[in-house]
Symmetry: C2
Subunit: 104 residues, 2 copies
């Protein structure tokens, strides 16, 4: 479907993508976690897209099995390359550990 | 208003009342916190009340200044009496400390 292609393109073109909702505290925590790590994700607020929001949430469930927010996509190799090109250092162990902790 | 009176009656007749939403993880955490403490709150799921949900959320904001969920009401004296009458013990320091921690 067209929406499915949009998601695939989005996550392939951006190192970190967070599908979120503006009023959801779990989503806020994930967004500020990335901010603390010095990573700027592409954030897509599903509650600000009108009727496309629920449709997008369904597509994400089809693609990932996850129907909840926050839904985080990380292209690790992509992320490392873009960080290196910006002369930024990232504690990868910290990132992975933090994400494991926050997604339980 | 009638809805305001309903809320005042509800929180005066029940030791612990949690205004919640079924799909909200913060609300789930507060509900399972009480479960761990052996306290059974009256839970009101605002997303399962049709159009009355948002109205109720507005009334709560008028009464408490808080427009978010979870919104927790505790009648401490009431709680202690009802626990004593059921021969239940409660670590009150634990309860207060836990609630302070979870409502930041
Ligand atoms: N343990 C999961 C919980 C995810 C979850 O339950 N998210 C809620 C919001 S906090 C949700 O998406 N509910 C359904 C919805 O909002 O459509 C995580 O940390 O990501
Ligand atoms: N720090 C507050 C956060 C409360 C909060 O932001 N709640 C969100 C849901 S997690 C909310 O009610 N958003 C507006 C809404 O759902 O109507 C707490 O722990 O209670
Ligand atoms: S909606 Fe409350 S934590 Fe996500």
């Amino acid at each position: 479907s067209r929406l499915e292609e949009t998601v695939k393109t989005t996550v392939s073109e951006n190192p970190v993508v967070v599908y979120s909702k503006t009023w959801c505290s779990y989503s806020s925590e994930v967004k500020s976690l990335f901010k603390k790590l010095g990573v700027e994700p592409l954030v897509i607020e599903l509650d600000q897209m009108g009727p496309q929001g629920p449709q997008l949430q369904k597509v994400l469930e089809r693609l990932t099995g996850q129907h909840t927010v926050p839904n985080v996509f990380i292209g690790l190799l992509f992320l490392l390359c873009s960080l290196t090109s910006h002369n930024t250092r990232l504690d990868l162990g910290l990132l992975i550990g933090a994400l494991n902790g926050s997604s339980r």
